[in-house]
């Protein structure tokens, strides 16, 4: 559970670890019934619609206004988005 929370970048308190842990276990038990379903002969659905090759032409379209973009930033500096230091291991 801690590992999953780390992957999802969610800080959990000890209580939450226990609580979500047991809820997750309950949910997994619930979805476990899928095991009974024989899916040997079916392929996975990626989309229900059968479209293929949906692409766009290589045309330039208008961008957002820079000032508006940065106005929404929690912290901006000289036109950049500012974030606290990145520890290399956080990659």
């Amino acid at each position: 559970m801690r590992h999953v929370a780390k992957l999802a970048r969610l800080a959990l308190t000890e209580t939450e670890v226990a609580q979500y842990g047991s809820q997750l276990a309950g949910l997994l038990a619930f979805v476990d019934e899928l095991r009974e379903l024989d899916t040997e002969h079916v392929g996975p659905t990626a989309q229900v619609i059968e479209s293929r090759n949906v692409v766009r032409a290589d045309d330039v379209a208008p961008c957002l206004d820079g000032a508006e973009v940065l106005a929404a930033a929690p912290q901006a500096q000289n036109g950049f988005f500012r974030v606290p230091k990145i520890i290399a291991a956080a990659q």
């Binding site: 979805v31 899916t39 392929g43």
Partner: protein, 492 residues
């Protein structure tokens, strides 16, 4: 205002007709509605944000266009918009602390089309956080109450939109449906709620929950109004790669008087005997009404439908765990300061997301993680194919499938504290969503719930094959006109 009552009692068709004929002005509508909604919403909580200035500005534009000779399908129709759809210049919160202060710099395609058709935006409605929930109780920003019993939930996740229409605080509304989030609250609030075929309405500007399932659709008091709204918003959009490029059949002009010549499938696995005597009787009567309209009732089987919930609760969380990763405090929305970026991410997301969202992110991350991907995610996608195949097979024997929209009417607040109990509310709607089918809920009666005193509405779910919206809405209209159940209940 007297004018407001008149207006809000009208259908969208009536309002549009009056405005296009210049019997009423859109500005008149806007002023009347804006003036009353705030007050009347106070005990209901359907709206998170009201947009009176935008509504007025839009109304002025509509009047100008009508004066210039245009005829707009939804001219002057007041509409409520679920708060997970971007509307430029307005707060778009998704019912979450994460976006509590965020203003959208662009407008969703479906909303754009609605406005282009002449509709007037009243405001943004409350919802379960990031569209995850079946009662609207998961909203971090407010409570919405069921207009027919204020001690009960309006359903979810589009609870605010359903309640607004159900309470007469909007003529039509937009909601979104992933596993039942339009159909279930429509059933709970005594209104029509319609989810089109996946891909019919653009998702551009709809904050994503589960990308392969999300669809935008209308709430209305009549099927005809829902059809009018659908016609205005549906169709291919270049900005959404999953939006289908197929010819659109308009639906509002093809509504049926009866169901002669149609076969309606009653699903063996969805038998209502276990739902309690009153509910069972209600659906038996609904099916009988369908037959009375000339439909041939046929029993069909959906053997894999019972795996729908498990399938859905692996696929939807998996997709959402990835879709919600963008909420990290870097570019917009909530940020909780941290000593380093990692801490900022973790604390921002811990504070910004509520428990249901966290639950689903956790299980979704787990289902995709190394070692579990095949057993969970891929397996669920295969189960999904099996379910879709079952529907295809069933539709060889019928034109429409009828079932309950939910297993019970609206429950009281905090009644479903166990997550899995809540998930069961979508038992009938989820398999339909997994197959991408067009589907709606139309009021089909009412029962007094256990422990309750007032009759609460029930909804009949109708589903049809992919891309057959005209058939579906046409049939639903016939049922609605014949039974007129919604009119028999009065909001509290």
């Amino acid at each position: 205002m007297a004018g407001a009552d008149d207006i809000l009692a009208c259908t969208a068709r009536e309002i549009a007709h009056a405005v296009n004929a210049r019997e009423r002005s859109a500005v008149e509508v806007a002023s009347a509605v804006s003036g009353t909604v705030a007050g009347r919403d106070r005990g209901l909580g359907a709206y998170l944000t009201l947009t009176p200035q935008l509504m007025l500005a839009q109304a002025q534009r509509v009047d100008e266009r009508v004066a210039a000779g245009e005829s707009l399908p939804l001219a002057g129709v007041p509409v409520a918009i679920k708060d997970n759809m971007c509307l430029r210049g307005t707060r778009t919160t998704c019912g979450s602390r994460m976006l509590e202060g965020w203003t959208a710099p662009y407008t969703a395609t479906a909303v754009e089309r609605l406005l282009e058709a002449g509709a007037l935006p009243i405001g943004k409605t409350n919802m379960d956080e990031f569209a995850m929930g079946s009662s609207c109780e998961n909203s971090a920003l407010g409570i919405t109450r069921n207009p027919y019993d204020r001690e009960r939930v309006p359903g979810g996740s589009s609870g605010g939109s359903a309640a607004a229409v159900g309470a007469g605080l909007a003529t039509i509304a937009l909601g979104s449906d992933t596993g039942g989030s339009i159909r279930e609250p429509a059933a709970f609030c005594n209104v029509v709620g319609f989810k089109p075929t996946y891909g019919r309405v653009s998702r551009y500007g709809l904050v994503a929950f589960a990308s392969s399932l999300d669809q935008i659709g209308p709430f209305a008091r009549t099927v005809e109004d829902a059809a009018l709204t659908y016609d205005a918003i549906a169709g291919h959009d270049r900005r959404d790669a999953t939006s289908v490029d197929r010819p659109l059949e308009t639906t509002a002009a093809a509504l049926r008087r009866d169901l002669r010549g149609l076969r309606v499938g009653i699903v063996k696995e969805f038998a209502t005997a276990d739902l309690g005597a009153a509910i069972d009787r209600c659906y038996a009567r609904a099916y009988a009404d369908l037959a009375a309209l000339g439909a041939e009732l046929v029993e069909v089987e959906l053997p894999t439908a019972k795996y729908g919930l498990a399938t859905y609760y692996l696929i939807a969380p998996a997709e959402c765990s990835s879709n919600l990763a963008r909420f990290d405090g870097v570019r917009y929305g909530l940020r909780v300061a941290g000593a380093d970026v990692g801490e900022m991410y973790e604390q921002t997301r811990a504070l910004g997301f509520g428990p249901e969202v966290k639950r689903r992110i956790l299980i979704g991350t787990y289902a995709l993680s190394s070692g579990y991907y095949d057993a969970y995610y891929v397996k669920a996608q295969k189960a999904r194919t099996a379910i879709a195949d079952d529907f295809k097979a069933a539709f060889a024997h019928c034109d429409l499938i009828a079932s309950p929209a939910a297993s019970a009417p609206a429950f009281t607040f905090n009644a479903k504290s166990d997550p899995v109990a809540m998930y069961l509310m979508d038992y009938y709607t989820i398999p339909v969503s997994l197959a991408g089918l067009p589907s709606l809920s139309v009021p089909c009666g009412a029962v007094v719930p256990d422990g309750g005193t007032r009759p609460m509405p029930l909804g009949l779910q109708l589903a049809s094959p992919l891309f057959t919206e005209r058939l579906l809405l046409g049939a639903a209209h016939a049922y609605e006109r014949h039974t007129r159940h919604a009119e028999k209940l009065v909001p509290a």
